[in-house]
């Protein structure tokens, strides 16, 4: 070992950053500090964390503890200067460590193999020695066939004593797997930094029918122009059976550029809309407190009329097509339920879980049919007579869709890094650089074979493969043709 004292300062710094000891320290530091950030709720405000801290240090000390933690950046610690410094040191460590070792590994991968002396061969971790009753030439060609069959690239060299040595290797590149793992971490870092600098994350609540060309950043709330317009045509919640458990949230969005509709898509959770690098995710929804442009949408089925759509406003009578009946919406409830005890109808929540409209019907100015409620989720309530059905399908313009809007030009790098890491981890742990040397020499009427092998990893499984190769070799050289 060279002593540290003889090294120049840059060399010493290099060595410091190339060391696995530093890696251990940094990874441990990242792990330990990360724990704190899971206990203190991040970006949560004073009250919540005072409560958290009180459970640990008592109510008296909590405010003081809060001030200390706040000053150290623990309230938003994953973005604090010292956590980012730790991450940067970690990245630097990883980079320098890899650069430091790569030349040596590269040499191991690309160096041509050379035949080994007998005494060296006998010292390898895996050794097999046996004789076959076949000529040297037959044994040699059998060996070459077996190595080829097992995917080894091999060479042959004559031995001093008249025999030959066949030697080969495979999987040399698997030694690079670990470096690709490390590199992929850096790729993910770069991707997330690019996303942080050049991207944005915001939200947008769009009422049905409304259009917007900006979104509002999370945190600051400032506006970011999109460069195009997005419009919400329709928002819809579906429920499981008759329950209030949502099954699906979906909105139909349009992208509009220069007054022209470019694209139209139904988005739902797990299925966003992407346009020009901006992604729109379905994230929430809600009612508009006093909709002015609300339309009640009905589908009418009467003799001679099939599935005709009607858009109606409250208190404005409309004619049911194919009949001389006029219908009027006189009342609306976003979630109309029945009280189990009294049987009375009441609105049980303000969100649109079970919307219903109260209708009155007139013919020639006189009331006809019974006035009553039609529920959107109970189509049978729209069956007015045997021949006339009026389904209440939607209250349009009364809800907004909550969109999460993101632009992240670095995300492809993050995914690239993730893909690389997945493949490289597999290579690093389950593949190995395998080498075999086979010395073949005549021994009176027989041929003596000495096989030595080594693997950079997973020696046990290579040993099994070698056993198989040995038996194939014996069969091939003795049995001849197979």
């Amino acid at each position: 070992m060279t002593t540290q004292k003889n090294l120049s300062l840059p060399d010493r710094i290099w060595k410091f950053f190339a060391s696995v000891t530093l890696a251990i320290i940094l990874i441990a530091a990242l792990a330990l500090t990360s724990i704190v950030g899971t206990i203190i709720e991040q970006n949560a405000g004073y009250e919540k964390n005072i409560k958290v801290l009180s459970t640990f240090v008592g109510e008296g000390l909590a405010p003081a503890a809060y001030r200390i933690f706040d000053a150290m950046g623990f309230m938003n610690m994953y973005h604090s200067w010292w956590f980012l410094t730790l991450l940067s040191l970690f990245a630097l460590n990883l980079t320098i460590c890899s650069i430091d070792r790569l030349p040596r590994i590269w040499k191991l991968v690309t160096d041509p193999m050379i035949p080994l002396k007998e005494n060296v061969l006998r010292n390898l971790a895996i050794r097999k020695e046996f004789t076959v009753s076949a000529s040297l030439e037959t044994a040699q060609s059998a060996t070459e066939q077996v190595l080829k069959g097992h995917g080894f690239a091999f060479n042959t060299a004559p031995e001093d004593g008249g025999g030959t040595q066949v030697f080969g290797q495979k999987g040399g590149y698997s030694r690079l797997g670990v470096y690709v793992v490390h590199g992929s971490i850096l790729v993910i870092f770069v991707g997330s930094i690019i996303g942080g600098i050049f991207g944005f994350k915001g939200g947008l609540n769009l009422p049905e029918g409304a259009t917007s060309d900006v979104v509002y950043l999370y945190g600051s709330g400032s506006q970011v122009p999109l460069g195009f317009e997005v419009k919400c045509n329709w928002y819809e919640t579906e429920f499981y059976g008759s329950s209030d458990q949502p099954k699906l949230f979906k909105s139909e969005l349009s992208v509009i550029e220069n007054g022209q509709e470019i694209l139209r898509k139904w988005i739902r959770v797990n299925d966003p809309l992407v346009y020009k690098g901006v992604t729109f995710y379905q994230s929430s929804y809600g009612p508009i407190s006093s909709p002015e442009d609300g339309y009640f949408v009905f589908t009418a089925n009467t003799p001679g009329v099939e599935n005709e759509t009607i858009w109606a406003k409250k208190n404005q009578p409309f004619q049911i097509p194919g009949t001389d009946i006029f219908a009027t919406v006189v009342d609306f409830s976003p979630a109309l339920g029945t009280n189990r005890q009294t049987g009375q109808l009441y609105t049980y929540t303000s969100s649109m879980n079970n919307p219903a409209v109260k209708m009155v019907f007139t013919r020639e100015g006189k009331e006809t049919l019974k006035p009553g409620w039609i529920w959107k989720r109970w189509p049978q309530t729209g069956k007015l007579t045997d021949e006339i059905t009026l389904d209440f399908t939607h209250y349009w313009g009364a809800q907004f869709t909550g969109l999460q809007v993101r632009k992240d030009p670095g995300v492809w790098l993050v995914y690239l890094g993730c893909t690389l890491m997945s493949i490289a981890l597999f290579v690093a742990f389950f593949m190995s650089h395998r080498k075999v040397w086979v010395r073949i020499e005549s021994d009176r009427k027989q041929t003596r074979v000495l096989l030595g092998a080594s693997a950079s990893k997973n020696r046990h499984s290579f040993e099994k493969a070698v056993d198989k190769m040995v038996s194939e070799l014996t069969v091939k050289s003795e049995g001849g043709n197979s």
Binding site: I27, A31, S34, I39, S192, G241, R268, N270, M421, L425
Partner: protein, 361 residues
């Protein structure tokens, strides 16, 4: 038979298997060894059947709500990996799979004495916590194939880590001669805690059985404070016993020619399987979050704890590169890694969610 009957059978099978494995360690009769493996396989089959029954139940439920879904999609949407209860069951199941493979490959049963109690503990934990076993319909965010992949992969990883916990624990027993050394105390405290959890579950079930609610669901009964004080005393006694008897276990392991080298090797191999799976689990989780919310990483406590776990196992892998770290120190890291797994998985929901306002589940 209902799925919960089958689960109960496998819980008791795993606990019985632990007894059989320990008896095998003590009496060294092959017959006992085969019995132990047989009981474990029985428990495993029971659990597999239970999972299939549950899957079928939720498949029927899904088809009732969404009759127009294709068969494959319905199979995927009804996979029993949707809440804490179902994921725990799968965790244990995958650990037993990995254990049985290792028993077969290494032809060594001693591990079973450690793995089956972990399986029993975890299954028992489900009962103790009184968590919901309802088959609830999937909320929209959970309707994702990435989520299924995420949960499946993560739990196979956790299963592998469970095995590495067992071997690392045995390793520490073999390595230490001094009952006062920190590593001896460390394994004794954690091991006693695992046994204690099983004990306290059985005690709680028999002394304070859950009552049947009006809607047919079981409602867990919270025991009084005195129960927990008694529990603390029991833990102290257990710790004392484990601490005193640990060195005798060592003689048993020695007798089985279980060397620290073999144990170190299995621990490493199990982590070499678990680590890529954990990484893939984190990655698929990030992809799911990205497709659902547009954020692949948001530093929420669950994500962060999975990252911490990942760091701990990275520490384990790299500590082996340092001179003098093979052996005891790496085994301690493997134990810490598994504690971190358990915390990621349960602690975040049970402890941190009490501290904060996140929902459970």
């Amino acid at each position: 038979m209902s799925s919960s009957d089958l689960f109960n059978i496998s819980t008791f099978a795993y606990i019985a298997a632990m007894v059989a494995y320990i008896a095998y360690l003590v009496f060294r009769k092959n017959g006992i060894g085969y019995t132990a493996t047989g009981i474990t396989i029985l428990g495993f089959l029971g659990q597999t059947a239970a999972i299939i029954v549950r899957w079928q139940e939720s498949f029927v439920q899904w088809m009732r709500f969404s009759p127009d879904t294709s068969f494959l999609l319905a199979i995927s949407r009804s996979a029993p990996l949707r809440n804490l209860y179902e994921s725990l069951v799968f965790f244990i199941w995958s650990m037993i799979v990995i254990y049985l493979v290792i028993e077969f490959v290494y032809k060594n049963r001693s591990l079973g004495a450690f793995v089956t109690p972990i399986a029993g503990l975890a299954l028992a934990f489900i009962e103790m916590s009184g968590m919901s076993k309802d088959i609830s319909p999937l909320v929209p965010a959970l309707q994702s194939n990435w989520l299924i992949a995420h949960v499946l992969i993560s739990f196979f990883g956790y299963g592998a880590f469970g095995v590495s916990y067992a071997t690392a624990n045995m390793h520490l027993i073999l390595e230490t001669d001094d009952k006062k050394s920190p590593s001896y105390l460390f394994w004794a405290v954690t091991f006693a805690a695992f046994i204690w959890c099983i004990f306290i579950m059985l005690a709680k079930l028999s002394l304070y059985p859950p009552v049947m609610g009006a809607d047919g669901r079981e409602i867990p009964v919270q025991p009084p404070v005195s129960f927990w004080i008694g529990g603390a005393v029991v833990y102290a006694v257990l710790l004392g016993l484990v601490w005193r008897l640990g060195l005798s276990l060592k003689k048993v392991f020695r007798f089985f020619a279980l060397s620290t080298d073999i144990l170190d090797d299995i621990t490493y191999k199990a982590i070499a399987v678990g680590f890529p799976l954990l990484s893939l689990g984190i990655i698929t989780g990030a992809i799911w979050a990205d497709s659902a919310w547009g954020t692949y990483w948001s530093w929420d406590p669950k994500e962060t704890w999975s990252l911490i776990t990942w760091f701990v196992y990275a520490l384990y892998l790299h500590s082996r590169l340092m001179r003098g770290w093979k052996g005891r120190k790496t085994a301690v890291l493997a134990l810490i890694g598994f504690i971190s797994v358990i915390f990621t998985y349960l602690g975040v929901n049970l402890l941190l969610s009490g501290l904060h306002s996140y929902g459970g589940g």
